[in-house]
């Protein structure tokens, strides 16, 4: 399974998003990234979830980081995030 699909599956399971967009930005970073060029190293995530209501930005990022612990420690070098509660979207 692709890294992107794994990320989506894990976030779906952990956060039940009402909206999720995951963009692969790896190509933009191929020039400076010194690790293995797998084509799945840099991502941008936009995710709307009820689970973020009442949570600070730091807490929201930590929820995603927790769900994607293995990916962030492994193949994923960078993940930009925009995390919103439904009333902010």
């Amino acid at each position: 399974m692709s890294v992107a699909q794994t990320i989506k599956d894990k976030l779906t399971a952990a956060l039940a998003p009402s909206l999720m967009e995951l963009e692969n930005e790896s190509q933009q970073h191929a020039g400076h990234y010194q690790g293995e060029l797998t084509g799945e190293t840099h991502f941008a995530l936009m995710l709307v979830s009820e689970a973020f209501a009442g949570k600070t930005r730091v807490q929201r990022h930590q929820m995603v980081n927790q769900a994607l612990k293995e990916e962030l420690a492994g193949p994923v070098h960078a993940l930009r995030m925009r995390l919103l509660a439904p009333d902010e979207a």
Partner: protein
């Protein structure tokens, strides 16, 4: 993380009003995300202490454990973890960043163009 590293980080965070743990230095950032936050601090003329995590593997891992935050850069203001690049950027774009600086009595120069 060793207790010594923990104590060292804690001391840096608590003894400086604005601290940026980053890859490289404020004047010579070595990562796009570190550079983004460094440029914002400089743009707003905020006096900040930089800590180059590339100088020390212990610091590089230690700061990740310190705030349970897996990435660098990390911005701290008055002892409190504010966030990494995405959060700082969002707060700046929404104007919340100014509110946070004012709440914490950090001196900065608001760019004229944003009035």
């Amino acid at each position: 993380m060793s207790e010594q590293t923990q104590a060292q980080i804690d001391s840096i965070v608590k003894n400086n009003d604005v601290v940026l743990f980053m890859k490289g230095t404020l004047n010579f950032p070595q990562c796009g995300f570190s550079s983004g936050v460094a440029q914002l601090l400089q743009f707003l003329q905020i006096e900040a202490q930089d800590v180059n995590v590339l100088d020390s593997d212990e610091l590089r891992q230690g700061i990740k454990d310190y705030s349970n935050w897996p990435t660098i850069p990390q911005l701290y203001v008055k002892g409190e973890f504010v966030g990494g690049f995405d959060i700082v950027k969002e707060m700046f774009e929404s104007g919340e960043f100014y509110g946070m600086l004012e709440d914490k009595a950090i001196s900065y120069k608001r760019p004229a163009a944003s009035e």
